[in-house]
């Protein structure tokens, strides 16, 4: 039987049933065996008592997007599974593992034509002291993937190391029963063997990658208020900053968080906060202060569905407008967007470097999808972007903090430097930093702050530009990975498609985009918003030199590679 280069598995359970533990353990076991893969979790709004699903994709090569349809669907129970109906697609090719005592099968199973194989996981778990159905499910999935039982044990042993031998023994027993129970199930096309490779690989979430990128870029202080789906950035940073002599403060609110990092940076310590849309809204006023006072700071917004409280556990790209246009006054600043789990590290590191170099706030627009997806990736290459602020030392004579330097970046005196005393101010100020309402000073400093960003050479990192087709897919953020996969499929069909995905959203790069569009005859814009924010942003700042089609849809449903592929092939 032919083997498949990738397979997809959904594990569903009511809140607390342990579907995510099963999924994460399976991902770790499969990645340790040499495959690549990812796991996205999907949750209802409740922490427990709602519903949870682990959506996995395992593959021979690195993969960063979800499938259109799942090959294997395991229902530990079906109590609230109908809520996933629009999110988890099954079909005639799907194998469903169902517990006959797990509640009524949802329409996504009964209406799909999928093959259903019943295994009484709950009853089996009862035969083991402290047995849990989710370990039976893990054994089933491990067996269907042709993992060895030791490979399935390993992540559980690590996870339960602190819980003692009895807990591990109960899990072993459950996995063994699951292994046996799956023997009769026909999975259909198996996953192709992993490629032997000596590449160093990481298994991490985008939020963890973001945090590592921040430290690599020089961040040594963070202040933040917990918020879904950004909290993992902070939870990784708190112990890790301490290892490098930095610190994270939990602020009383986002207003405090942003002002704390401005204070840290004013004192010479590069600083970052991470939040989501509601928090970014609260930080906007102080971001204007950082723009005016020219204090470098990095604000990561892990976007979720909005407006207001919106859908905290689901992804959307609808904070683009507030990130680009939210500040009052003319307030040029940096806006960047990572494109994948691994790119969260690069882009955050680059953002830190740019913020420090240009003495400007930088907003990094990540999103829930890549932020909370755990993926196996090849270790990204080291890059030399380390925050390097132009500081004033050996000051003799009158110091001018906001002197009109040729590149707009004036040396910054750090407190403690004799002769460099100045007052950083959100009031319009002179070159010396003295408040003024004079027209000439206002214009000079507005020009300075605009020009320092506009005249900087951002290099090729500004966008991912791949391929040379006459049809260009123009997208951004985590959709870049789905678009890349769709384009690869189209290329196999003989359709050349170009990918253009800006990583740098502000300042805009019209000349570079024009170059990227050379020879383009059709432009397909893909974005996850309701209002077409990216398309409107493009129209405001760029020349789109060919007919444009826009495929935009709000969250919570991810835009998949299959949907992008269809949009490409339908426009011939």
């Amino acid at each position: 039987m032919a083997a498949s280069p990738s397979i997809s598995i959904a594990i569903v359970g009511s809140g607390g049933a342990g579907a995510l533990t099963t999924g994460n353990s399976l991902l770790e076991a499969a990645c340790a065996a040499g495959w690549y893969g990812l796991l996205t979790r999907t949750l209802g709004p409740q922490i427990r008592g709602g519903e949870a699903a682990a959506l996995l994709r395992l593959a021979v090569n690195p993969v960063e997007g979800l499938p259109d349809q799942f090959d294997l669907l395991i229902g530990i129970d079906w109590l609230n599974a109908h809520r996933f109906g629009s999110e988890i697609k099954a079909g005639p090719g799907t194998l469903v593992i169902s517990d006959p005592r797990g509640g009524d099968q949802p329409p996504m199973v009964t209406q799909s034509g999928a093959r259903v194989f019943e295994i009484p996981m709950k009853e089996m778990a009862k035969t083991i002291p402290d047995g849990r159905p989710n370990m039976i499910a893990l054994g089933i999935a491990g067996r269907l993937l042709d993992l060895t039982i030791e490979q399935v044990f390993a992540p559980i042993e690590k996870l339960l190391a602190d819980k003692g031998p009895a807990a591990i023994e109960a899990s072993h027993a459950g996995i063994k029963i699951g292994f046996g129970a799956a023997a009769g199930a026909d999975f259909g096309t198996p996953l192709a063997s992993p490629n032997p490779s000596s590449a160093r690989r990481w298994l991490l979430s985008g939020n963890e990658a973001t945090a590592l990128g921040a430290i690599r870029g020089g961040v040594r202080f963070a202040a933040a208020y917990p918020i879904t789906p950004a909290t993992e950035v902070l939870e990784w940073l708190a112990p890790s900053l301490a290892k490098v002599g930095g610190v994270l403060l939990q602020a009383e609110d986002e207003l405090a968080a942003i002002n704390m990092i401005i204070g840290s940076s004013f004192g010479g310590t590069p600083a970052l906060t991470a939040t989501s849309g509601p928090g970014l809204s609260l930080m906007i006023e102080a971001l204007g202060l950082a723009t005016s006072a020219e204090i470098p700071v990095v604000v990561v917004d892990v976007m979720r569905g909005g407006p207001s409280t919106g859908i905290p556990t689901k992804s959307e790209q609808a904070d683009l407008n507030i990130a680009v246009y939210g500040l009052h006054g003319d307030a040029p600043h940096l806006v960047l967007a990572p494109q994948s789990v691994g790119d969260c590290m690069f882009t955050t590191q680059w953002a830190t470097y740019l913020a420090e170099t240009l003495q400007s706030p930088a907003i990094v627009l990540s999103d829930q999808f890549m932020g909370q997806t755990r993926a196996a990736i090849e270790r990204p290459a080291d890059v030399a972007f380390i925050g390097a602020r132009t500081v004033a030392t050996d000051i003799a004579g009158a110091y001018e903090r906001y002197a009109l330097a040729a590149n707009g970046v004036s040396p910054m005196a750090i407190p403690g430097t004799r002769g460099g005393q100045y007052t950083a101010d959100g009031l319009t100020h002179s070159q010396r930093g003295i408040p003024t309402s004079g027209a000439a000073d206002h214009l000079a400093q507005l020009d300075k702050r605009r020009d320092k960003l506009d005249h900087f050479n951002y290099g090729d990192h500004w966008a991912a530009i791949e391929g040379a087709g006459e049809l260009a897919v123009l997208t951004w953020g985590s959709l870049t990975s789905a678009a890349r996969e769709a384009i690869a499929r189209a290329t196999k069909d003989g359709i050349d498609v170009r990918l253009v995905a800006p990583r740098l959203l502000l300042p805009t790069q019209p000349e570079r985009l024009a170059k990227a569009f050379y020879g383009v005859k059709r432009i397909l814009v893909i974005e996850q918003t309701h209002g077409g924010q990216f398309h409107r942003y493009l129209r405001a700042h760029y020349d789109l030199p060919a007919p444009v089609r826009v495929f935009n849809r709000p969250g919570p449903l991810p835009i998949t590679a299959g949907e992008i592929y269809r949009a490409i092939t339908e426009w011939r």
Partner: protein, 278 residues
């Protein structure tokens, strides 16, 4: 507080900038500025080792009038900005300047948490019971019957009691001063800056433009009759029941300041990757 520079004697004038204050003639804040520079000179702190952090309002103009490092930030957030600075730069002496609107209204939440957090800094609130910069609206400390254009007939709202709130929230040093007594105020500021942890100094600083009645404060203030207590229970009774014009150091706590270990540790950053390696 940073170490005293023994190499050099500083004069009060060393802490004053050449920028002319924009306060009204007769404003109490002129005297507060004088108290600041006098206290800094008495402490012998190098001006570049001091950071004066403020928000928005008449009182918050003070950083630029000193010759220290300053930050005139957004309205109400000075304590947060100062915490980020002090925690990462414990070598600096950090003084935060605010007013009753900036500190007790828009910045009220940060006041609670700054007291709780107990970072080693001094918080000076110039309280004139009115919004001066926006021309005479009621603040959290304005009397309920005080008539303004925005609150005809008065707010009818009970005034905020900053000293009680500070004590209940964990401030480690609490004092009340009167701007018209710059020598006494400077002496209290010296003690506040030297005291470890979060020191709160409320300075009654009259607004002669919108509250000409406050010119009478000079006759109402009186030195606190007994020395500062270290007992929060006694301090609470004292602060709750005094007439609001009791001047001096009222409470000295002994909480350990919040200061996490910071400073460059040279480890290979690839150590951090081990969390993720397959």
């Amino acid at each position: 507080m940073s170490t005293v520079d023994t190499q050099r004697a500083y004069k009060q004038a060393d802490y004053k900038s050449d920028i002319k204050p924009i306060w009204c003639p007769g404003c109490g804040d002129y005297h507060v500025l004088m108290s600041f520079t006098r206290a800094f000179a008495q402490l012998g702190l190098p001006p570049e080792q001091i950071a004066v952090i403020s928000g928005i309002g008449c009182s918050s103009r003070i950083p630029a009038y000193t010759n220290c490092y300053g930050f005139h930030g957004v309205h109400g957030r000075s304590l947060a900005l100062a915490a980020g600075l002090k925690v990462t730069r414990p070598d600096l002496t950090v003084v935060v300047a605010s007013g009753d609107g900036d500190g007790y209204s828009i910045g009220g939440n940060h006041f609670l948490h700054a007291c709780r957090r107990n970072v080693d800094m001094t918080y000076v609130v110039m309280d004139n019971h009115i919004y001066g910069m926006t021309k005479g609206q009621p603040s959290p400390t304005t009397e309920p019957e005080f008539d303004t254009a925005l609150s005809p007939g008065g707010t009818k709202v009970r005034p905020f009691h900053p000293l009680v709130v500070a004590l209940a929230s964990g401030a480690n040093f609490i004092a009340r001063c009167f701007s018209g007594e710059p020598n006494e105020t400077a002496a209290v500021l010296v003690e506040a800056i030297k005291h470890p942890g979060f020191s709160f100094v409320e300075i009654l600083s009259p607004c002669v433009t919108f509250r000409p009645d406050e010119k009478a404060w000079k006759d109402l203030v009186h030195p606190a009759p007994v020395a500062a207590t270290t007992d929060p229970g006694k301090a609470a009774r004292r602060i709750m029941t005094d007439d609001g014009f009791n001047i001096g150091i009222l409470y000295r706590g002994n909480r350990t300041p919040f200061q996490p270990a910071v400073g460059a540790i040279n480890i290979d950053l690839s150590e951090l990757e081990k969390d993720f390696e397959l």
